[in-house]
């Protein structure tokens, strides 16, 4: 057991939901809510998979301060995210951008659905419609007989 590492992880866990800290909040409630929604999209860069909304790390606190300041200045979400990506790279976004490089990530589940559905339609067209050759009762009987 690498206890040392576990301890740091646990220490990071203890104080979650840090962004609600009353010492940090913006006076304007609409702006504060907007900032909170943005926090969930931004990663705490030194943490284990936590957004800055959750993390109690110092970096997360600084990032929250920076984002809150920009929200208060009336910057758009795009501008704020662009600012963060420029400084920290795409790693900071919890939602990967929809770029050609990330197409595999975003599209593969839907490609699977389309390909599967296409295959089913193709096979349904080729295969003859099932004939009512045996009644359900006969089929059940057949299955009983086939049971070894």
């Amino acid at each position: 057991m690498r206890l040392g590492r576990l301890l740091t992880i646990v220490a990071a866990l203890v104080c979650l939901a840090a962004a609600e800290d009353p010492a940090e909040q913006l006076p304007n409630r609409a702006q504060e809510a907007h900032a909170r929604a943005l926090f969930k999209e931004i990663r705490c860069v030194v943490c284990q998979n936590e957004s800055i909304d959750d993390s109690d790390a110092e970096v997360a606190g600084n990032l929250r301060q920076a984002v809150r300041a920009q929200v208060a200045e009336g910057q758009s979400d795009q501008q704020i995210k662009a600012f963060l990506v420029q400084r920290y790279g795409e790693f900071i976004l919890m939602r990967p951008t929809f770029s050609p490089a990330n197409a595999l990530l975003w599209l593969s589940p839907f490609v699977i659905v389309l390909a599967g559905a296409g295959l089913l339609v193709f096979r349904a067209r080729r295969a003859p419609a099932p004939e009512a050759s045996l009644t359900d009762a006969e089929e059940a009987k057949l299955r009983e007989l086939k049971d070894f």
Partner: protein, 668 residues
């Protein structure tokens, strides 16, 4: 002494697993009942040996034998007895032994049950289970033996991680592991079927109970884990799409798909190759989960921290087991006989769509979990994939599958009629639209999402009840006749009803909690009041010190009131464990119906006027308990389905035959 006996038992189990493979495979090849019988004996022996090793580990924990390295790292004399016992599976080594215990346990049950299972299939299944045993017990013996001694024993242990000292956490790994490893039987049955070259209704009837057992236990395990994270970590949430959570969720998704496709294979003999594929895939994802959690290649808040050498070994095991399974599949599956035909509009097609969407959802979770690694390796880019991705992609795929869910069970096998089914579902659709619109109008905030979630949940529950009413011919026959019909329904049908309603209940909870959660944080001095949302007010009455068995705590006592009426007293604690130097939170939950007032007691701070205060975080979590209640209903449905006469393990098959007309199962 016991630790050495335990190590010996572990090595014995390794040898017995090798014997299990050799005897079962040899017996199968020579057609010798004596050899396969001996192989079954070896399987039981391996289980008994592993159980002995596990008992030795537990004994070392209970007696605080700190000369055993694993005990010294994960226990402490001041720890309550219950947590000394559960410490046995609190570490990587101990949990792998638990994994082996479950693996050999399932092997022993397969060996002992089922004169109904054809002997060839049984022999190959027991041999395959033995191969898995050799791999995992071998790993435990040679790379992660929890019973190793240290040269210079310490006087005191390092203590179990305080976050794990919780009754829900303590019982969650046994459920989770019995679920994960239960898939191994399905895997072995798949291997057996491929080798024997017959995948038919009789085989599917053997796969169904095993996948039901594993699926139900996994459902309970994941739910307990989620509940633990909800009320121990103090963050107010219940699912974070963390890699470790995803690792347990992927086998569950595949097992869910398998349950549905095995139904088609059992009833109609169709989709046989696909069912075998899923049978292999389910345990592959279990192994992948075991690897991801232990390898340290993914950053997660609750992975086991470990050196990479063991991770590579686990990856090797995964590669060998899954690789040979799928190679066998590629070789033998094309020769499987094609199954029954069905029309594009039929129950089979509906279940196929279910499988298609569940597969795509599994791929979304898999890619989302692994994509940071893929991107790093492929184009050296550091990318994060967080909850926003999963919520969007997984959510939309599951939304689609839930829309068609109530239609499937009402459809006839082979060739169905969509129009008639939709006509019968009109009132469920109406109820869903009305409920969604009401939530949309009155629920605060983020309305559209809440409305859609509630509408889907009501659609599921209403559609499932419609199906039940149809079976009872409610409204078209007398009430007593309808009641008689309901009582005569097969348990499998009741199981499906419970599982689908459970899913609806879960969805309602997730939609309302996810959108209506109110979070409040305030530095409170004694006497301060705070509005916590949902109409609840809290006031801090006193702050005191508590001496726990192995911790010290600050406890805040807060009275919760609604419109001036006292509701309950919340006593959250901030605990300090001197043995490990860690601080944890003991969340106070005030249960209101299915909702929670959730109170976390934080650090001491200076308040607004210079007086000492404490940071108190409060979450109003409306309908949160339905998130955990729903999956438990699903697991209950699995259990009910399992008690179905047709699926009862070891049921003599001929008895089913002599029932004659009774074996003409009603078209479910």
């Amino acid at each position: 002494m016991t630790a050495e006996l335990g190590s010996f038992a572990l090595i014995l189990a390794f040898a017995l697993s090798i014997a299990q493979v050799a005897l079962s495979a040899g017996g199968r090849l020579r057609g010798s009942a004596a050899l396969t019988g001996a192989g079954e004996g070896a399987a039981v022996g391996a289980f008994v040996s592993i159980a002995a090793a596990f008992a030795a580990l537990m004994y070392a924990f209970v007696t605080s034998d700190f000369s055993v390295a694993n005990v010294a790292a994960n226990s402490h004399t001041a720890q309550p007895l219950f947590y000394k016992i559960t410490g046995a599976w609190g570490s990587h080594e101990g949990s792998m032994l638990l994994w082996c215990l479950a693996l050999t346990g399932y092997g022993a049950v397969v060996a002992l049950t089922g004169p109904g299972l054809p002997w060839r299939l049984k022999a190959t299944t027991v041999a395959s289970q033995g191969c898995l045993g050799v791999l995992f017990i071998g790993y435990t013996v040679f790379a992660s033996n929890p019973l190793l001694r240290v040269a210079n024993p310490l006087v005191e242990g390092a203590s179990l991680n305080p976050l794990l000292q919780d009754p829900f956490f303590a019982i969650h790994p046994p459920f989770l592991y019995s679920g994960y490893v239960g898939m191994s039987v399905v895997f072995s049955l798949g291997v057996g079927a491929l080798i024997e070259g017959r995948v038919d209704a009789a085989w599917a009837r053997w796969v169904r109970p095993w996948s039901l057992v594993a699926w139900s236990l996994l459902t309970i395990g994941i739910t307990l884990g989620s509940f633990w994270s909800y009320y121990v970590l103090g963050w107010g949430g219940w699912w974070a799409w963390d890699p470790v959570e995803n690792a347990s969720f992927m086998p569950w998704l595949v097992a869910t798909a398998l349950l549905h496709s095995a139904t088609v294979t059992e009833k109609r003999g169709a989709m046989a190759a696909w069912t075998v594929f899923l049978a292999l895939l389910a345990f592959t994802f279990s192994m992948l989960g075991a690897f991801l959690v232990r390898s340290g290649i993914l950053t997660s808040v609750h992975a086991f921290a470990l050196e990479p050498k063991r991770g590579i070994l686990l990856l090797d095991i995964l590669g060998i087991a899954a690789g040979s399974g799928f190679a066998l599949f590629a070789w033998r599956a094309p020769s499987l006989p094609p199954g029954g035909l069905f029309a594009p509009i039929s129950r089979e097609s509906a279940l196929l769509l279910n499988n298609l969407f569940l597969s795509a959802a599994t791929v979304a979770v898999l890619f989302g979990t692994l994509y940071p690694l893929i991107a790093q390796a492929a184009f050296g880019a550091a990318v994060s994939v967080g909850p926003p991705y999963f919520n969007l992609v997984f959510g939309s795929l599951m939304g689609a599958v839930l829309l068609i869910l109530p239609i499937g069970p009402l459809m006839a096998w082979k060739r169905g009629e969509l129009k008639g089914v939709l006509q019968r579902l009109w009132w469920a659709a109406l109820a869903a639209v009305v409920a969604g619109a009401l939530v949309f109008a009155f629920h605060e905030p983020r309305k559209a999402f809440a409305g859609a979630g509630v509408a889907l949940g009501v659609w599921l529950i209403g559609g499932t009840l419609t199906e039940l009413a149809e079976r009872a011919r409610l409204g078209r026959t007398s009430l007593s006749e309808a009641g008689r019909r309901l009582r005569a329904l097969p348990r499998g049908a009741w199981g499906m009803t419970f599982a689908h309603i459970g899913l609806g209940v879960f969805l309602l909870g997730a939609a309302i909690d996810g959108t209506g959660k109110v979070e409040t944080a305030k530095v409170m001095a004694v006497g301060d009041q705070v509005d916590a949302g949902g109409g609840y007010h809290l006031s801090l009455d006193q702050v005191g010190q508590v001496d726990g068995p192995n911790y010290l705590a600050n406890r805040g006592t807060l009275s919760v009131t609604k419109a001036g009426n006292p509701i309950c007293t919340a006593a959250p604690e901030r605990r300090f464990y001197p043995a490990s130097g860690q601080t944890t939170s003991k969340v106070a939950l005030c249960l209101r119906g299915v909702s929670d007032v959730y109170v976390v007691f934080g650090e001491q701070r200076t308040g607004a006027n210079g007086q000492p205060g404490w940071l108190v975080r409060i979450f109003w979590n409306p309908w949160a308990r339905m998130i955990f209640l729903g999956p438990l209903l699903m697991a209950l449905g699995g259990g009910i389905s399992l008690s179905d006469r047709r699926l009862r393990i070891g049921l003599p098959r001929r008895a089913a035959g002599t029932r004659g007309a009774a074996s003409l199962e009603p078209a479910e």
